[in-house]
């Protein structure tokens, strides 16, 4: 058994960590946090040059052709750095949808642009409150155009194209849903930025009015493709969450070592130690679940649906737990704008919802485990 990343993959992780430490310090994240830019363009270009945007995109489509294990490693570092770039929407959602369902022409059109940093992509799924469900999709497709409203759409205001889930039938079945590709710069789509708990990751409302759209995948296959895209994104995003959890734990640990109260480092008090130990436990359980998810993703195993849900739940819990307790360990300083704690707290609690809420994934996990047991 070798339930670990390879030396080459670890080397890639080190490279990514070094790169992000240099190009994505807290100061850079704060530029976006403070609203000075919608995302960090220089960092985005840098990620393209490093080959990170196309790490799992095949060479024939302009990528590095490495694979999903490599992408997991990069994802962890993106989470650790709290990178203010549209990485998850472009790489985990749009690129994965294209890889799964795109025609050769569609892949040829968009994937090289993703890898080179020229195009930002996203998935337009949600229409107001609620979790992923075919019933919630009202946006209509007719005659090669789309009309309706999607929100929230991650990075919708800066995206160049979107994979859009639309209604193409009214039987009440999953096959009522189809996917479409829309060039957001081609007219017919209006984007409005929305205020977000985590300003370093933009959200938008997209209004489609007879917007030109081409089918992605076969008509009626939309929901089945989406389910797969969400599972794959769940694993990748879980790695970001694990990276964020580890960073929050380190911040708390470092502060507990440096901060003196009652004449001793606060990290020598058991009340503080036990908070940090519990953070370590949740981060470790999440990491282990993520490794299993990474294995299932990279081998396209039949266990992926269950593994993805487990990774998603575990990593969501860990990041929420670690980021909130990092603030607690910091005390009053943790509640200032100046300290970075709140940036991870914000990111943890928005990432927890991006692909559907925790309770949604809990439900999914139990359904999937029952299916497996019944089989």
């Amino acid at each position: 058994m070798n339930f670990d990343f390879s030396d080459e993959q670890k080397q890639m992780r080190d490279e990514a960590r070094k790169f992000l430490a240099e190009k994505c310090p807290s100061k850079a994240v704060r530029e976006v946090l403070d609203g000075k830019a919608p995302y960090d363009k220089a960092l985005w270009q840098g990620l393209a040059e490093m080959g990170f945007l196309g790490v799992a995109i095949p060479e024939e489509f302009g990528g590095a052709g490495a694979g999903h294990l490599e992408l997991c490693v990069i994802a962890e570092e993106m989470g650790r750095a709290n990178a203010p770039v549209p990485f998850s929407s472009t790489v985990y959602l749009a690129a994965e949808a294209l890889l799964l369902a795109g025609s050769d022409a569609q892949k040829q059109k968009w994937l090289p642009k993703i890898a080179s940093g020229e195009a930002i992509g996203t998935l337009a799924l949600f229409e107001g409150k609620g979790n992923p469900s075919p019933k919630a999709i009202k946006l209509q497709a007719s005659g090669g155009t789309l009309s309706g409203v999607k929100k929230p759409v991650p990075d919708g205001a800066i995206a160049d194209f979107a994979v859009v889930a639309a209604r193409t039938g009214s039987t009440g079945r999953d096959s009522d849903i189809s996917l479409f590709l829309v060039d957001l710069k081609a007219g017919g789509v209006e984007a409005k930025s929305l205020t977000n708990v985590d300003p370093t990751r933009g959200q938008a409302e997209l209004t489609f009015e007879n917007a030109k759209a081409e089918p992605l995948g076969a008509a009626g296959d939309g929901w089945s493709i989406l389910t797969q895209v969400l599972d794959r994104a769940a694993v990748l995003l879980a790695f970001e969450q694990v990276g964020g959890s580890d960073r929050a734990l380190e911040m708390g640990r470092d502060y507990a070592l440096d901060r003196i109260a009652f004449g001793r480092p606060i990290g020598s008090f058991q009340a503080v130690k036990h908070i940090l130990a519990d953070m370590y436990v949740s981060a470790t359980l999440a990491r282990s679940n993520c490794y299993y998810g990474a294995w299932a993703l990279s081998t396209n195993a039949s266990e992926l649906p269950e593994a993805a849900a487990a990774a998603r739940i575990s990593a969501t819990q860990a990041f929420q737990h670690c980021s909130k307790n990092n603030i607690q360990v910091h005390g009053g300083m943790g509640f200032t704008w100046e300290f970075d704690c709140h940036m991870y707290y914000r990111r943890a609690n928005t990432t927890a919802l991006t692909l559907g809420s925790l309770s949604y994934w809990e439900d999914q996990l139990i359904d999937r485990m029952r299916k497996k047991n019944a089989a």
Binding site: M1, N2, F3, D4, F5, S6, L69, L249, R253, A256, L257, R264, P265, G267, S268, Q270, V272, K273, H274, L276, A277, D278, Y280, V281, T284, L285, A286, S288, N289, Y291, Y292, A294, W295, S298, A310, I313, S314, Q317, S359, W361, E362, D363, L365, I366, M369, R370, N373
Partner: protein, 414 residues
């Protein structure tokens, strides 16, 4: 990233599997698979007797204590081979329960500190199950604070005379030998005045009294020492170096206890999948599903954490204090699962008879047994300290008794 054995590991696994297939006591298989919640009992026979027979057979086939050197009764196997053996041994591994303290703690301590003569004499018999060993560390005055122990050993010629009391000694009532830590110098700070021995449990002056536990069972004992004579050659390590010797034992304790952990989750999932409530199957209830999902990811998280540890072993790395996580997570889980499983049964959840319940009383038993899982082998709090100090690198606790002569440390709270 893969779950595959290396060619050598695969070959070892095949050999082990073949041997187990040919030699395992299959008539106990069904009974053993059912007793999965830390409570192993056989209907008609004593677990110790059946266990001894299995252990003897393993020793004859070269499968006992297999990571030990051959000359001490082992197989000279690698740590990863030991893990593979445990996976293959499966339910029959439960029969090794009476030997786990000897194999996991006492044996390694004798191996590290015993004379060559002792090692060749005692270890093969420990490995083959002929002799069962117990560990005499905890005392009424020293549980988590092991170094606060008060059992005295005084030198008299070539012997030591031991007086005092130990507690929580698992299996003392059927043990042949014991690993015993004593205080040999009360005039120095507590960690410095300790000395380790091993002794024959049938020595004159050793009295074992069973403790009736909160769950009604009797697995632990009190052990009293009255002028017990231990020859000096049965000392392990230098006089006054007992604390360092005990660290070897305790390190092994946390690792061996962590290796076969029950979480209660598979039982709970099955229970909820079949339990019909007034509102339908329990597993269709949103609150229950949420709890199940939480336990599911803890159980899988622990499983894959152990796979990661096995992978490090396979690469020749040594697992460290990070393995404290297993017992810390599973102990509370057992307790929470038991509580909720009973909650789902409503008022009838109170009843614990094997014939009364949908789940034949297993969760009621789990409820009553689980508190010990959070205490034995390092309390939850001690394990959190270990993670904080030895994994995360936080400073040790301020110890007010550290530099005080042992006999000047206060013994009463108020």
């Amino acid at each position: 990233m893969n779950f595959d054995d290396t060619p050598q590991e695969a070959e070892f696994r095949a050999t082990a599997r073949k041997w187990i297939e040919a030699n395992a006591p299959k008539k106990y298989e069904a009974e053993l698979s059912k007793s999965s919640l830390g409570r192993i009992r056989l209907e008609k026979e004593e677990i110790v007797d059946v266990g001894k027979a299995w252990q003897k057979k393993k020793a004859e086939g070269g499968w006992a204590c297999l990571h030990w050197p051959k000359e001490y009764g082992g197989r000279g196997a690698t740590p990863i081979e030991k893990v593979i053996w445990q996976q293959e041994e499966g339910v029959y591994g439960k029969l090794t329960q009476p030997f786990q303290i000897g194999e996991g703690m006492c044996g390694p301590t004798v191996m590290a500190f015993g004379s060559e003569e002792h090692k060749r004499h005692y270890l093969p018999k420990l490995a083959s199950g002929e002799h069962i060993w117990c560990q005499l560390f905890s005392e009424p005055a020293g549980g988590s604070d092991v170094a606060g122990l008060r059992t005295r050993a005084e030198k008299k010629g070539d012997n030591w005379i031991v007086n005092g009391q130990k507690i929580w000694t698992s299996g003392a009532h059927y043990s042949d030998y014991g690993l015993l830590i004593t205080r040999t110098d009360p005039n120095v700070p507590k960690h410095k005045g300790l000395t380790m021995f091993f002794l024959d449990m049938k020595s004159k002056g050793v009295e074992v009294r069973p403790i009736k536990q909160a769950n009604g069972m009797q697995e632990f004992n009190e052990v009293y020492f009255t002028d017990v004579v231990i020859p000096d050659h049965q000392r392990l390590g230098a006089v006054g170096d007992g604390w360092n010797v005990s660290l070897t034992t305790l390190m092994n304790e946390r690792m061996s206890i962590g290796s076969r952990l029950a979480t209660g989750f598979p039982e709970m999932f099955e229970f909820c999948s079949n339990l019909m409530t007034d509102d339908g199957l329990a597993i269709d209830d949103p609150a229950t599903r949420s709890k199940l999902a939480n336990w599911a990811v803890k159980a899988s998280g622990l499983k894959y954490t152990s796979y990661r540890a096995i992978s490090s072993l396979s690469k020749g790395e040594r697992p460290g204090p990070e393995n404290s996580i297993g017992k810390l997570v599973s102990g509370s889980m057992l307790q929470d699962i038991a509580t909720y499983a009973m909650d789902l049964q409503g008022a009838a959840g109170e009843l614990s008879g094997a014939d009364e319940q949908e789940a034949s009383g297993q969760f009621q038993q789990m409820l009553l047994s689980s508190p010990s899982m959070r205490i034995a082998g390092g309390t939850d709090e001690i394990l959190r300290n270990i993670i904080a100090e030895r994994v995360l690198g936080l400073p040790g606790d301020i110890r007010v008794d550290k530099d005080v002569p042992f006999n000047k440390i206060p013994t009463k709270g108020r």
